[in-house]
């Protein structure tokens, strides 16, 4: 099964939250349906990080915040050589970190 990153859609008011909260930030409801983070969005801001924590052998990694068309914002890795704010991007889920031999999957944004 392909890995997914899930947002939470409120069963009462329909608001989508990412990451999840115990109560819906809009209406206070506690029940949610999982909703995969998918599709396209617009790059809000980004950075190339050169001072990396443990687990990274890269010279730098590129991170960004994307406004997804599905109605949430998400932070993730950018696989974009020359990122520009306002650029259209598409999300996929893949390996974003390897720690102690374990792969961690997450959101990766690529150019549209």
């Amino acid at each position: 099964m392909a890995p997914v990153v899930e947002a939470a859609k409120c069963r009462k008011c329909g608001k989508i939250s990412y990451p999840t909260h115990y109560y819906c930030p809009a209406c206070g409801e506690r029940k949610f349906d999982p909703l995969p983070v998918e599709g396209e969005g617009t790059l809000l801001t980004w950075t190339k990080v050169y001072a990396l924590p443990l687990d990274y052998a890269d010279l730098y990694i590129t991170l960004g915040i994307v406004e997804m068309d599905m109605g949430i914002r998400a932070t993730g890795r950018l696989e974009i050589d020359d990122p520009k704010t306002g650029a259209r991007v598409r999300v996929r889920v893949g390996k974003v970190r390897e720690t102690g031999g374990t792969d961690i999957t997450g959101l990766i944004f690529t150019p549209v």
């Binding site: 980004w46 950075t47 190339k48 990080v49 924590p53």
Partner: protein, 395 residues
């Protein structure tokens, strides 16, 4: 509620410690108690501010260890406050509340952090634990990367140039060079940081658009204040400083969830609460220590707390209004940028610096004109837990 005074203050040298964490905290506490002519009076409670001793120094229950080393047992209560980089001012706030309520008379608040006991990768990793575990941390998000993404948005929206960020560093390094306890006592220039031929060698990227000199150093250091009811302050000092107001506010954990990610809502709310408690306004403040872990934050915070209109902090900086000798000196101690940022201690150290300024005891970096009201912002996480403090000369 009783009025609460700071009757003693002390700090160690910041930088790479020659002492253990506990020894640093003893030295700062000793300075604060000696400064207050404490004699053999009993301390009712000790609040310790620290973020990483369990991970970085293999020590837990730090406040219990401190009361033992200082021989304050068995009478003193002892607690450790871990509130990320806002631990320091949080601990002062708890001490203030204990004295204000009448539950305690004499309270020692000591912040201490020894981050250089681990290597830089470990330190970066440790601080990145502040980010949201599943929505930020797993991607390699660190505090500088959150600051980098914030800076890009903020700079685009308000027309802030890299030169403005460098101006914060130049000002705070110039101030820090005059502070004998600062971690980085070196002056820097625009040529060295941005415009000269070797600028990129001196000042490489950390998290684009932030460069090395836009970020605070990783520091060791300890600071302490002694609190007493204002009506008892004369027993300890001729120069009490009143805690006129404190305010605290919080925000979403994941930065991307904020309705406008360029707004530091918790900074604004914490400041409003502190000013309301003090019955003072931003225009009444004569000196401020802001949480410039990254240069962009000094500019943004100076706007959010109400010193300058939104989008105009960098213009006030450019006009020199925030230098020592300007209308509102910001970070005369050098700030986190040059004085250093021993994370859990920072909030206490900012308050010690404001106390020194209000007492007229800041030496070469004293703000002229006998400042009466001071202010500090202690910023936790990436703005998701913020404590604001208004201090007032009490004599």
């Amino acid at each position: 509620m009783r009025d609460v005074a700071i009757v003693g203050a002390g700090s160690t040298q910041f930088g790479r410690a020659q002492w253990s964490l506990l020894k640093m905290m003893c030295e700062a506490s000793h300075d604060a108690m000696k400064n207050a002519n404490l004699g053999d009076r009993k301390i009712d409670a000790v609040y310790v501010a620290n973020m990483g001793s369990t991970r970085n120094n293999k020590m837990a229950g730090l406040s219990s260890a401190l009361v033992d080393r200082l021989n304050l047992y068995p009478h003193a209560a002892a607690e450790t406050i871990e509130n990320g980089p806002a631990s320091g001012a949080s601990a002062v706030k708890h001490g203030m509340q204990a004295v204000a309520s009448g539950h305690c008379d004499l309270v020692l608040v000591c912040g201490g952090e020894r981050m250089r006991e681990v290597n830089n990768f470990e330190a970066t990793e440790f601080v990145s634990y502040l980010s949201h575990r599943y929505a930020e941390y797993v991607y390699g998000v660190t505090l500088p990367s959150l600051a980098g993404m914030f800076a890009r948005l903020y700079m685009e929206r308000y027309g802030i140039k890299p030169e403005h960020l460098a101006m914060v560093a130049i000002k705070n390094h110039a101030n820090g060079a005059k502070n004998p306890k600062a971690h980085l006592r070196l002056e820097v220039t625009m040529e060295g940081l941005l415009t000269g031929p070797d600028a990129h060698m001196n000042n490489p990227w950390v998290a684009d658009p932030l460069r090395f000199f836009d970020c605070c150093p990783v520091s060791d250091g300890a600071s302490a204040v002694l609190l007493a009811p204002a009506d008892m302050a004369a027993k300890f000092t001729r120069k009490p400083v009143l805690i006129a107001g404190m305010g605290q506010a919080t925000d979403t954990h994941a930065v991307h969830e904020r309705p406008d990610p360029t707004e530091l809502t918790a900074v604004r709310l914490a400041a409003q609460k502190a000013f309301a408690m003090a019955n003072l306004a931003p225009a009444d403040i004569h000196i401020a220590e802001l949480h410039d872990a990254f240069t962009i934050l000094e500019i943004a915070e100076s706007e959010e707390v109400g010193f300058f209109p939104k989008g105009q902090g960098h213009l006030a900086l450019e006009r020199g209004e925030t230098k020592i000798g300007g209308q509102l000196p910001i970070n005369p101690s050098g700030g986190l940028k040059a004085r250093g940022h021993p994370v859990g201690n920072t909030g206490v150290s900012q308050i010690v610096e404001v106390v020194n300024q209000l007492r007229g005891e800041a030496g070469d970096y004293q703000v002229p004109g006998e400042p009466k009201n001071g202010f500090a912002i202690n910023f936790g996480g990436f703005g998701n837990n913020v404590v604001a403090t208004v201090l007032k000369r009490g004599y």
